[in-house]
């Protein structure tokens, strides 16, 4: 693995800044891309950016902090769990818009 992990001068900063940009990029896409599935994707990019900041800033001169790594793994799992739920909701919504309030507010009761 040493092959790919050279001595970085401040590799941590490079990745952390990348993470920062990713986060902002994701937020931006979230705002302008209105389809729910694309928003879900955008949220995942934001998540990746946040994780990268966490990892990048935990990268010391000789080692990477295990604590942020653990936090990121936890974060990734939480993110995938929520993404799965979100995707399922999006599909279900397309199948059958289940919303009693719309039915009753708009027209007289069906």
């Amino acid at each position: 693995m040493e092959l790919l992990a050279p001595e970085p001068v401040s590799a941590g900063h490079i990745y952390a800044v990348t993470g920062a940009i990713l986060t902002a990029l994701g937020f931006y896409a979230f705002i302008v891309r209105r389809h729910a599935l694309r928003q879900l994707l955008a949220v995942n990019v934001v998540g990746a950016g946040v994780f990268l900041i966490l990892g990048g800033l935990g990268r010391g001169p000789d080692a990477i902090d295990p604590m942020p790594q653990a936090l990121v793994i936890t974060g990734i799992v939480v993110a995938v769990a929520l993404t799965a739920f979100g995707a399922a909701m999006i599909v279900r919504l397309a199948e059958a818009p289940r919303s009693p309030d719309q039915g009753k507010a708009g027209k007289p009761d069906a």
Partner: protein, 320 residues
């Protein structure tokens, strides 16, 4: 040179992310998102976080990617073309300005912090007491096992949440079969699924075992298992279970339950989630193995989605 490598990698990450976020076609977006996830994995490797790299590639890119692809396919089948509606120009501009300033501010903030592995010093001396080498596993399953315990329940809860979306008639039922419609394709996929499932199982078991000392762990392994299960299901090598099968329920809760039980057992040893002296490694490995099984099954079912009403399966030979 290494700096250049990092820089190029970061640019590629940003590039793929940009395409994934802004390209019109949804499928292309998802494809680039998966590429983005794999590059993120490389970034984690480059940072020296092999555990995270595994998790990112397996979960962040793999499972999330499949989730998005499946969701898109189902949306298309339902007549939703997955086009983003037009957003007004002022929104684009306003959001652009806001997000640019946010990016600058955040980058400045990030640069104001010196990267350091501050807690490594704290973790290192505690590791011998656990009897395992992988510090990340140490943090996940000992020092912050509480987080991980709760997280395993989040995963389980997500599946419950997905199930809660099942239509009235579909409960308790099976998720929609991700099976190939074409009979021959079915065979091809099934063949590979049959081959890959045991391989995946072995690999996953190895990942858990290695996770004590080398990179790996329950979550990464669980993903591999989930991948094997999904492939097998796509090929029809295994059927998707009804959501109320007792065995399935048992498999789902096994890991979290064992984790919880060991945590509560710790009360006898002095407090919640305390591992008795000398038993730490054994308990951690127990937790990891059970957790990996449950995570694998949970992830596979998360991807499969909520149960659907039993309708005639779109049959390959139906329109001969």
């Amino acid at each position: 040179m290494s700096g250049a490598f990092d820089l190029i990698l970061c640019l590629m990450i940003l590039g793929t992310a940009g395409i994934a976020l802004f390209v019109r076609d949804a499928l292309a977006a998802i494809a680039f998102f998966i590429a983005f996830g794999n590059l993120m994995g490389l970034a984690w490797l480059s940072l020296g976080a092999v555990n995270v790299a595994l998790a990112e590639i397996a979960i962040g890119a793999g499972v999330t990617g499949i989730l998005l692809i499946l969701a898109r396919a189902r949306l298309l089948a339902l007549g939703d073309p997955v086009h983003s509606g037009d957003t007004p120009t002022w929104l684009w501009l306003g959001a652009f300005a806001a997000c640019t300033s946010f990016a600058v501010l955040l980058a400045a903030t990030v640069l104001s912090i010196t990267p350091e592995s501050g807690l490594d010093r704290v973790v290192a001396p505690l590791m011998p007491g656990l009897g395992i080498e992988n510090r990340v596993t140490g943090v996940l399953l000992a020092f912050r096992a509480y987080d991980t315990l709760l997280e395993s329940f989040v995963l389980l809860g997500a599946l419950v949440a997905v199930w809660s979306l099942a239509p009235a008639r579909a409960w308790p039922g099976r998720p929609a079969e991700p099976r190939m419609a074409d009979g021959q394709m079915h065979q091809v996929a099934g063949a590979s699924g049959r081959v890959l499932l045991p391989v995946a199982l072995v690999m996953a078991a190895y990942l858990v075992w290695a996770g004590s000392d080398l990179p790996g762990g329950a979550f990464q392994a669980g993903t591999v298992l989930a991948g094997g299960l999904m492939l097998a299901a796509m090929g029809g090598a295994i059927g998707l279970p009804r959501s109320d099968r007792p065995l399935l329920r048992a498999a789902l809760v096994l890991g979290p339950l064992v984790f919880l039980a060991i945590g509560l057992g710790g009360i006898a040893a002095g407090g919640f989630l305390i591992y008795p002296k000398g038993l730490a490694k054994a308990l951690i490995v127990t937790i990891e193995y059970t957790l990996f099984l449950s995570i694998g099954v949970t992830l596979a079912l998360l991807v499969a989605g909520p149960p659907v009403a039993d309708s005639p399966v779109p049959d390959a030979g139906g329109n001969g």
